[in-house]
């Protein structure tokens, strides 16, 4: 990647980085006040790098190692409530251990940003990627998105703060990335300057809710159960508003950092005139895009649609992109035991988004890459072929050893 002359002012340097390095770099750039940590692969990579920043004097922040993920997320939540910009993160079962805290961070509407280094829910001691950990918060009031490359991981973390802290939103945001494939792979990343990030991201201001001796407030008191439904409605409206905030955040990001995020929510590769489209999230997108391009060169009308933001769900974008496609296949790095049609999680959201559109495509589901199993070019090609084939079953397992 060549850094253009005019970009020099907004970029500090280009460096070979893993996905977790890139997130740590973003956390430094947003100048967090509090970093709460508890080690778990692959999240540990962020801890390592941030510890080095603080030790080297590159970042002035409280680095608090908690006694477990539950406390870790409580620390993040509380820091956020006193007006400190905070960062937390975890993976797999660690993320689940923090779940009580994760739930109330959302209902308290605190704009904490977290990394979920996707990891299988452990037994048998697995730490390869599965998306079930992050997807568990899809309905709790967290914003949720997936990064596919190290550069995107850095960019998205910056954008996540901007969206989460926006007074129109004030919801926590989780940036998910595939354990191993992204967290342990080193790519060249353009690192913005601190000044440019400051232009993009205003100071964190929680307004009237900020807990401070000068502004005594009691957050989340057990006052009146009767308030709950009205509070949920507020949250619901904020989630709806977040779509516009995300759009404008990406517009500004593109203009400051000369990046080319065309649509913040989805990323299309040859989708426009395709008959057959695969949909996926995370690092599988890299392989799928490459295969989609390759098959186009062979004259096959195939495309790939990557979902970047999963909450808020890109309903309109998906409808628009897929309504006139004949066959849609979904690459799922997750499982949903006993779900409708025995499909995995994202199929259900995608199908309901398409249900009310006039010409909805035939949808098939591929459960693939669980526990870090590779999703190779060969397998993506197979999924394209199966999607195009009207006779293939509703749900197939790809890459499974029979």
């Amino acid at each position: 990647m060549v850094v253009k002359q005019e970009e020099k002012s907004v970029f500090d340097r280009e460096e070979l980085m893993t996905g977790t390095d890139a997130v740590a770099e973003a956390v430094k750039l947003v100048d967090v006040d509090v970093f709460a940590a508890y080690p778990i692969r692959p999240y540990t990579g962020v801890m390592d790098r941030l510890a080095r920043f603080i030790a080297n004097g590159d970042l002035d922040a409280e680095y608090i190692v908690a006694d477990g993920e539950h406390s870790q997320f409580e620390i993040g939540k509380h820091a956020s409530s006193v007006g400190a910009r905070a960062f937390v993160g975890s993976s797999g079962v660690g993320w689940l251990y923090a779940m009580e805290s994760i739930g109330v961070t959302a209902t308290d509407r605190l704009p904490l940003v977290a990394l979920v280094g996707n990891r299988a829910l452990d037994d048998p001691g697995a730490f390869g990627v599965e998306h079930n950990d992050a997807l568990l918060v899809r309905d709790l009031g967290w914003l949720l998105c997936w990064a596919s490359t190290a550069q995107e991981a850095l960019d998205t973390t910056l954008i996540a703060y901007r969206v989460a802290e926006d007074p129109k939103v004030r919801m926590p945001a989780a940036v998910a990335m595939d354990g191993g494939y992204l967290t342990h792979s080193q790519h060249m990343v353009r690192v913005p300057t601190k000044e440019a990030v400051r232009d993009f991201l205003p100071t964190y201001d929680l307004g009237n809710r900020r807990m401070h001796p000068d502004n005594p407030v009691s957050i989340a008191p057990q006052v009146n159960e009767d308030w709950v439904m009205e509070l949920r409605r507020q949250n619901y409206e904020a989630a709806k508003r977040s779509r516009k905030v995300i759009t404008s955040a990406y517009e500004e990001y593109n203009s400051i950092f000369h990046s080319d995020y065309e649509d913040p929510f989805i990323e299309e590769t040859n989708v426009e005139d395709a008959d057959t489209v695969l949909v996926g999230m995370g690092s599988a997108a890299v392989v799928a895009r490459s295969v989609a391009n390759e098959m186009r060169r062979e004259g096959k009308k195939v495309g790939f649609l990557k979902i970047r933001w999963y909450r808020p769900y890109p309903t309109d974008e998906i409808r628009k992109a897929l309504s006139n496609v004949s066959n849609v296949g979904i690459i799922e790095r997750n499982f949903a035991m006993g779900a409708p049609d025995d499909g995995a999680i994202t199929m259900h959201d995608l199908q309901s988004a398409l249900y009310d559109s006039k010409n909805h495509p035939r949808v098939v589901d591929f459960i693939a890459g669980l526990g870090g199993r590779e999703i190779s070019k060969k397998e993506v090609r197979k999924m394209f072929e199966m999607t195009a084939d009207k006779k293939s079953p509703k749900v197939s397992w790809i890459g499974l050893r029979e």
Binding site: G180, Q186, S290, E374, K377
Partner: protein, 392 residues
């Protein structure tokens, strides 16, 4: 239009010892990517995720990929959708004792160091040994490939409290020699000079380029690999739920008398093994008592046999043994098998002692208790004579 030509792709693997060489390996796999970038190539690197957190001495691997014509995304799709690779044009080995085999995890088996090297590819080993000695422990291949020896010891320089011995840049220089299509020596030396702001480091890279000796390994040279390849189970091969059968309790006096886990032996973690002078042993039990991996088998005569298949070479037994020169750690590459030393001793005590002293040599390496001070070498001019009649 069909794509017929295979894209240009070079895959490099860096084999290293967990923890001790982790930083060193990351420097090498990262720096070689930067160097290739300087020549306008597409390149990136990754670590084998399943190795994380690269525990002490466990054989681990990093990879780097290079292409002249692929975009970064296409290269990634081509090369690294998988967490381990099956083929490599360049295999770097940072510790020569790894030629005896690699067993990073349970269920992986003990795999040959040259398993992934392709025809005409190269295995680049940091070693002070002759190629023939190393090939004699490696699996025979059906095709010719090259072996390159960069003179040097297994380096600990990646650990911050060890002195920089320039192994990182020396390996880069050697890579430029054996695989100039990744980056030329000039590119490497210039990159090293600018990154480390050190003429000495650039000179070390250039010197390594000259020093590295490359020779051809013919088809059929090497050994028949003694370890079976693991069979990966299908989904119907398991019982339901997550469990594996435990090791059945079993204990008998004598060599290999204790039941141990057959699926993960960890013996390939060792760079040295304890050589025992049974004739000097006072039967104090400390080696057996202190061994963290429980590799000592009690025998009916009160001596303790060593099961080298499970020994990780930590040196604890040699440290606690109160008798001078009774247990001494010796370079693992000097040994051809994992046979029971006790059985050898019982067969012919005097000859065993002669053999043991020959393996031990005249030098004893002792790491300094103060980190960063390296190790001290003491000389043993006359080995302790064979002591008759200890075993009753």
């Amino acid at each position: 239009m069909m794509q017929t030509q295979k894209p240009h792709l070079i895959r490099l693997e860096v084999n290293y010892r967990g923890i001790f060489q982790k930083t060193l390996a990351y420097h090498i796999s990262g720096d070689v990517v930067y160097a290739a970038h300087k020549e306008g190539k597409t390149a990136f690197s990754n670590g084998r995720y399943s190795d994380d957190p690269q525990r002490n001495g466990i054989p681990c691997a990093n990879f780097a990929y290079f292409s002249k014509d692929l975009t970064e995304e296409d290269l990634e799709a081509e090369a690294s959708a998988s967490m381990d690779i099956t083929e490599a044009e360049v295999v770097v080995v940072l510790d020569d004792t790894m030629v005896k085999g690699l067993e990073p995890w349970g269920g992986y088996g003990i795999r040959p160091i040259n398993e992934k090297v392709v025809k005409d590819g190269v295995v680049l080993i940091v070693s002070n040994r002759k190629p023939a000695d190393l090939i004699a422990q490696m699996e025979k291949k059906k095709f010719p490939y090259r072996i390159a020896i960069l003179p040097g010891e297994a380096s600990f320089a990646g650990l911050w409290y060890f002195k920089d011995d320039m192994t990182d840049v020396r390996v880069l220089g050697a890579i430029a020699k054996v695989a100039p299509e990744i980056a030329s020596i000039d590119t490497v030396a210039n990159y090293v000079a600018s990154k480390y702001k050190s003429k000495e480091k650039a000179a070390a890279a250039r010197k390594a380029y000259e020093e590295v000796k490359v020779s051809t390994v013919n088809a059929g040279e090497g050994i028949d690999w003694p370890y079976p390849k693991p069979i990966l189970p299908g989904w119907k091969d398991f019982d339901e739920g997550v469990y594996v059968k435990g090791v059945k309790r079993g204990f008998q006096m004598g060599p290999r008398g204790q039941n141990r886990n057959p699926d993960f032996k960890r013996g390939t973690s060792k760079t040295q093994r304890p050589v025992v002078r049974f004739d000097l042993c006072t039967k104090c039990t400390l080696c057996w008592y202190d061994c963290p991996d429980e590799v000592f088998d009690p025998t009916t005569d009160g001596l303790y046999d060593v099961n080298y298949e499970y020994c990780t070479g930590c040196g604890r037994c040699a440290e606690v043994c109160p008798v001078e020169d009774c247990i001494v750690m010796v370079d693992e590459l000097k040994f051809e098998n994992q046979d029971s030393p006790y059985v050898l001793y019982k067969k012919d005590p005097e000859n065993y002692v002669k053999w043991a002293e020959d393996k031990k040599g005249k030098e004893r390496l002792m790491p300094s208790p103060v980190t960063g001070k390296g190790s001290t070498v003491s000389k043993v001019e006359t080995p302790k004579p064979f002591k008759k009649g200890v075993v009753k």
